[in-house]
């Protein structure tokens, strides 16, 4: 059709698709799935870090951490808005999350038992997220791409803060250095898994790349991430917990140790450390806030009735 032709031309020309443009139903669905999943990840991703807001070890760190978690709430809001331009409703997305029907990034099903995890989450998790997300700033769907521009700017700030937390710990007492290394040991592999299964085992990727929703393969992004980590780990004086990790001059890539995809699939299927806790907490916050949302809605209704009465 002419619509389809125009859509394909726009994609071909690296132009943006906007909400009012025609788009294939699968493109729309795929985007809603990806954007809402991303939004859910921001929302659930607040939890592992909010765990340390009350206990942050200095006022400066407390302020930075609060601001960060709050940014994540903000990212959730932009992304929900972007998904809404595709016809998804916020209530619908929220219900799907709470009912356990919507996915969010599995990485947030790991717990944050120590303060050093605030460093690792920033350095490794946000770091991996940036590698995933920077290309999305050029995503073909306009509202998503623009949301990602703003998000990436903040994420890279978060990553630097995570690095600084680890740096401070690695320059600190022995207990602090140990805390940092232990934390990186726990987060390194899960962070690598954030790029998803190897390319030869990744079903949705091809179409997403054709539509320019996705622009690099999982393995390409993983390589880019490790390439970024290695020199930073040297600065930190921290060891990346992969004895097989080394630069391969022939392939011009890093050789990586075997990733434990069994763990990945276990966590994905609800058998991680904190899946239950994360959803329980979101469900409880949502349920406990119901009366507040209802009050706000009732008040808004009454106000608009009143202004109508005044107007008529």
């Amino acid at each position: 059709s002419a619509d389809e032709q125009q859509f394909n031309d726009l994609i071909e020309a690296d132009s943006r698709i906007e909400p009012r443009d025609w788009m294939p139903e699968d493109y729309r669905k795929s985007l809603v799935r990806q954007i809402s999943q991303h939004a859910h990840s921001e929302i659930i991703g607040m939890q592992p870090e909010s765990n340390w807001i009350t206990r942050a070890p200095s006022l400066k760190r407390k302020a930075i951490l609060m601001a960060k978690v709050q940014d994540e709430a903000g990212h959730g809001l932009y992304l929900y808005s972007a998904a809404q331009t595709l016809g998804a409703t916020r209530d619908g997305m929220t219900e799907a999350l709470i009912a356990g029907k919507a996915r969010y990034s599995s990485i947030f099903n790991y717990p944050t038992p120590t303060w050093a995890d605030m460093g690792s989450v920033g350095w490794l998790v946000d770091g991996a997220a940036i590698c995933n997300q920077v290309p999305l700033c050029r995503a073909s769907y306009g509202p998503y791409g623009r949301a990602m521009v703003r998000i990436c700017k903040e994420e890279s700030f978060h990553q630097r803060q995570g690095f600084e937390i680890l740096l401070e710990l690695m320059q600190g007492t022995e207990a602090q250095r140990h805390m940092a290394q232990d934390s990186v040991n726990r987060w390194y592999w899960p962070a690598l898994m954030m790029f998803g299964p190897p390319d030869d085992d990744s079903p949705n990727s091809a179409q997403s790349m054709a539509w320019k929703i996705k622009r690099f393969s999982n393995d390409e992004l993983r390589q880019r991430f490790v390439g970024m980590l290695v020199p930073q780990a040297a600065v930190l004086g921290i060891t990346l917990p992969d004895p097989d990790l080394k630069w391969n001059d022939e392939t011009q890539k890093y050789d990586l140790g075997e990733i434990d995809w069994t763990e990945f699939h276990e966590v994905l299927s609800g058998r991680g450390a904190s899946n239950a806790q994360r959803l329980q907490r979101r469900r409880d916050a949502h349920a406990e806030g119901a009366w507040v949302r209802e009050a706000a809605a009732a008040y808004a209704r009454k106000q608009s009735e009143r202004s109508e009465m005044v107007a008529s």
């Binding site: 070890p57 006022l59 806030g289 809605a297």
Partner: protein, 245 residues
């Protein structure tokens, strides 16, 4: 001087304890917009606390973190209202409504302090607290006039927080030594009442009557809630004496 430092400590402690309470809401708020809004308020308050504790510590060579993490409960000078538990959202809003109105009057007046540092902190804080005030007013209206359930909760929230209002406006002897530097809280009550009256009128609320807590936060006397708040807040820092973060 030590007196000015003590006064800065009072105000800094108020902000820090309240920020700590509000920080517990982040990721648990009734809607995402409130995670953001309460987070913003908490961040502003931490900012005020840092400026004030930093200033309070200069007299004795202590850092803001020395003061925040290494004082025991009886050394805290915060008002009892700020340590009251979050309760449900209505309790948090009632507390925020009361404290924001108090702080707005306080900082507005403190901008004229003869102490340049306090005046500068107050100038910045007054603007921010004005926004906090507005945020809580909107919620008081929504909750009071929203549903029967929300109105019931708002009434309980105010009635549970009101016992701690009196303490805010009591003058302590220290103030006699800080004429022109500090603001007498007793002198703020009228403006406070004048500011909240129209909100209460629109929300169809009355000031609760009943208990009046004997207070004493400025002298280190606290309700049973502060100890637990500090246990949590200080645990990591105290486990690593001398460490930097």
């Amino acid at each position: 001087s030590a007196d000015v430092a003590e006064y800065a400590l009072w105000l800094g402690d108020d902000s820090l304890v309240l920020a700590q309470r509000l920080g517990s809401w982040i990721s648990r708020a009734p809607e995402l917009e409130e995670d953001v809004a309460l987070g913003n308020i908490a961040l502003d308050l931490i900012g005020h606390a840092r400026s004030l504790l930093h200033y309070a510590g200069t007299a004795s060579g202590q850092s803001e973190d020395d003061l925040a993490y290494w004082r025991d409960e009886p050394e805290w000078r915060s008002l009892q209202i700020v340590e009251q538990p979050n309760g449900d959202f209505a309790h948090t809003i009632a507390r925020q409504f009361i404290v924001s109105h108090f702080l707005f009057e306080l900082y507005t007046r403190l901008r004229d302090s003869t102490d340049a540092t306090l005046a500068a902190v107050a100038d910045k804080a007054a603007k921010e607290v004005d926004y906090h005030r507005d945020h809580s007013v909107q919620w008081v209206l929504r909750l009071s006039l929203g549903t029967d359930e929300s109105r019931r909760r708002m009434l309980v929230g105010f009635s549970d927080m009101w016992p701690y209002v009196d303490e805010m406006f009591r003058d302590e002897p220290l103030l006699d030594r800080l004429e022109g530097v500090a603001v007498r809280p007793s002198s703020l009550r009228e403006a406070f009442e004048r500011a909240i009256a129209p909100v209460f009128a629109e929300a169809e609320l009355e000031e609760p009557r009943g208990f009046i807590a004997s207070g004493g936060g400025r002298r280190g006397i606290h309700s049973e809630h502060l100890g637990l708040l500090l246990a949590d807040m200080q645990v990591l820092t105290r486990a690593h004496p001398g460490a930097k973060w």
